[in-house]
Structure formats: structure tokens, C-alpha cells
């Protein structure tokens, strides 16, 4: 994967995603629809110096998740994930 400045690990997406969902999605495991790699969202690469939040695969740089929030409406694009595995609280 190419090196990049100004990125965070996906763990930093916890707050923004909690505003949309009631569970901490960064603990969920997602499968990259491009290369098949499965990893926790917390372990992905987050680009937030951008007009939205972009989470990319650590294996192939493909976009996994996009989130745009204008304060009154949010748009979530998950098409880069073939699934999200969410472990329910026991």
C-alpha cells in the first residue's frame, strides 16, 4: 500500500459512526469487496482531511466506507464492503 500523510487509523471513526449507529461499528469486521481482506474497521486507514470521511482497506487501498455529514443529514456509502460482521453484546 502507498504511504500517506494525514491519515488516522480507523479507530478514530468511532465517534462519527456512533452518531449514526447505536453500536461501536469500529469493532465490526468488514470484508473488502475488492481484495477479500477481512479486518476490524478500527484497523483500517481513515482519511478525514477531506469533504467526508473515507475508510480504505489496509491491504489494497480500496474505498470501504464513505460518510458525509452536513449536520442535518448524513450519507453513508458501504458498497466497498461485501459484509460487516457485527458481534452482538452478550
Amino acid at each position: 500500500m502507498m504511504t500517506a500523510d494525514n491519515v488516522l487509523d480507523g479507530n478514530a471513526a468511532a465517534g462519527p459512526l456512533l452518531e449514526i449507529f447505536s453500536v461501536d461499528l469500529t469493532a465490526a469486521h468488514g470484508r473488502c469487496d475488492e481484495c477479500g481482506r477481512v479486518c476490524a474497521l478500527a484497523e483500517t486507514v481513515l482519511y478525514n482531511h477531506a469533504p467526508g470521511l473515507v475508510i480504505r482497506c489496509v491491504g489494497c487501498d480500496a474505498v470501504l466506507l464513505r460518510l458525509v455529514d452536513n449536520g442535518t443529514r448524513a450519507w453513508l456509502d458501504l458498497r466497498g464492503l461485501s459484509y460487516l460482521q457485527i458481534d452482538r453484546a452478550q
Binding site: M1, M2, T3, A4, D5, N6, G15, P16, E19, Y47, N48, H49, A50, P51, G52, L53, V54, R56, D61, V63, R66, L67, V68, D69, N70, G71, R73, A74, W75, L76, D77
Partner: protein
């Protein structure tokens, strides 16, 4: 807006007539990026315009740089609310690049190295309003700012000025690009504050 960092740290001057509504002045040049920075050697670079008939017009770097270039001084306006006034660029006008292109399509999709896309109506690219820029402030455009070359469409929000541009594809309909699929406005005129759908 919401919780996104714009990389902006400047002071607002809402009384400045050069500032569109909701914008703040910055002296720095924040780097916004939705992905890793591609490092494209000019030897490997090419720019294409593909029309609706399938015809593809191509320029390698030498051919591109042999085209007449223009110095452009312009204000730029990022949708994350910073504006930078009087920026200096050098680039090839889209009028020059389109001079031998036959098309009846009214819309375009700009494609970048790294996979970014943004849709721009053809009318917004022609008429001395847009360039493929290769210099900033008298220096070769750095990769962080879109070098070797980026689209420069300064009358629209800066997300339309695609960094690392590699080509333009003509479209019969105004299909949305990378951000326009997720809430951002199809056209993005900062003076009309066209930020979102």
C-alpha cells in the same frame, strides 16, 4: 458542517466581497485527500479525452507540455469552508484540449490517478473557465496538491478541481462522481452555496 477536519486554521472575514457565503479566508494551502497520494512520473503520465463515440484523444507529457499554456490568477473555494484568494497557476486551457474533439454530449466525468472521479458539465470546462494545471506559484505542482497535473475549475468548489487528473470522459447524462454520489452537489457553485443535494 459535521465532524470533519478541513485542515483549516484561519480567521474569517465575512465582510470580504471576494468570499462566497459561508467561506473563511486562509493564507495556507490545506491538503485535502480522500486517499493515498499517487506518485506519477511524467514519463508514465498521460491525459485522455474519451467521447461518447468511443474515440480517445491522447497526450503524453511532452505532447501536453507542447500545447500553449496560460498563467492564471484566481480565487479558490473549498467546500470545507476555506477560500484562498489570488492563487497563481500555469496550465493548458480545456478550450485548447477540446479544440479537436467532436462531441454532442453535455456532461463530463473527470478521472484521476488513484481512482477519484468528479462530474462537471462541459459548459463549465469551456469558455476560459478551466485548465489542466501543472505549476503552482511558479513551481511544478507537488504531488500533495495534485501534481504532475490537476484539473483547475476555480468557479466551482475545489473538489471539482480533480487532483492527479488523467482524463475526461464525455457523458450524455450528469452522472455523479466520488463525492457527488454521497451528498455533495452535482454542480457546486460556491456563490450559490451549492454544497449538498
Amino acid at each position: 458542517m459535521g465532524f470533519f477536519s478541513s485542515g483549516f486554521s484561519g480567521r474569517g472575514r465575512s465582510d470580504n466581497p471576494d468570499l462566497p457565503p459561508g467561506q473563511y479566508l486562509t493564507e495556507s494551502f490545506p491538503v485535502l485527500s480522500a486517499g493515498p497520494t499517487p506518485r506519477i512520473a511524467t514519463d508514465d503520465w498521460e491525459f485522455t479525452i474519451a467521447t461518447e463515440t468511443g474515440k480517445v484523444h491522447r497526450w503524453n507529457w511532452a505532447e501536453f507540455r507542447a500545447l500553449p499554456a496560460e498563467d492564471v490568477t484566481t480565487d479558490i473555494h473549498c467546500v470545507t469552508s476555506w477560500s484562498k484568494l489570488g492563487t497563481g497557476w500555469r496550465g493548458v486551457s480545456l478550450d485548447t484540449l477540446f479544440s479537436g474533439v467532436e462531441t454532442s454530449a453535455e456532461f463530463t466525468m473527470a478521472h484521476s490517478y488513484g481512482g477519484y472521479t468528479t462530474n462537471v458539465p462541459l459548459d463549465d470546462l469551456l469558455g476560459g473557465k478551466a485548465w489542466v494545471a501543472f505549476d503552482f506559484d511558479g513551481e511544478a505542482l507537488e504531488p500533495e496538491h495534485g501534481g504532475p497535473a490537476r484539473l483547475l475549475v476555480p468557479h466551482l468548489y475545489f473538489w471539482k478541481s480533480a487532483k492527479w487528473v488523467r482524463g475526461i470522459r464525455m457523458m450524455q447524462s450528469d452522472d455523479p462522481g466520488f463525492w457527488e454520489q454521497n451528498g455533495y452537489h452535482l454542480r457546486g457553485d460556491p456563490w450559490l452555496e451549492q454544497r449538498y443535494w
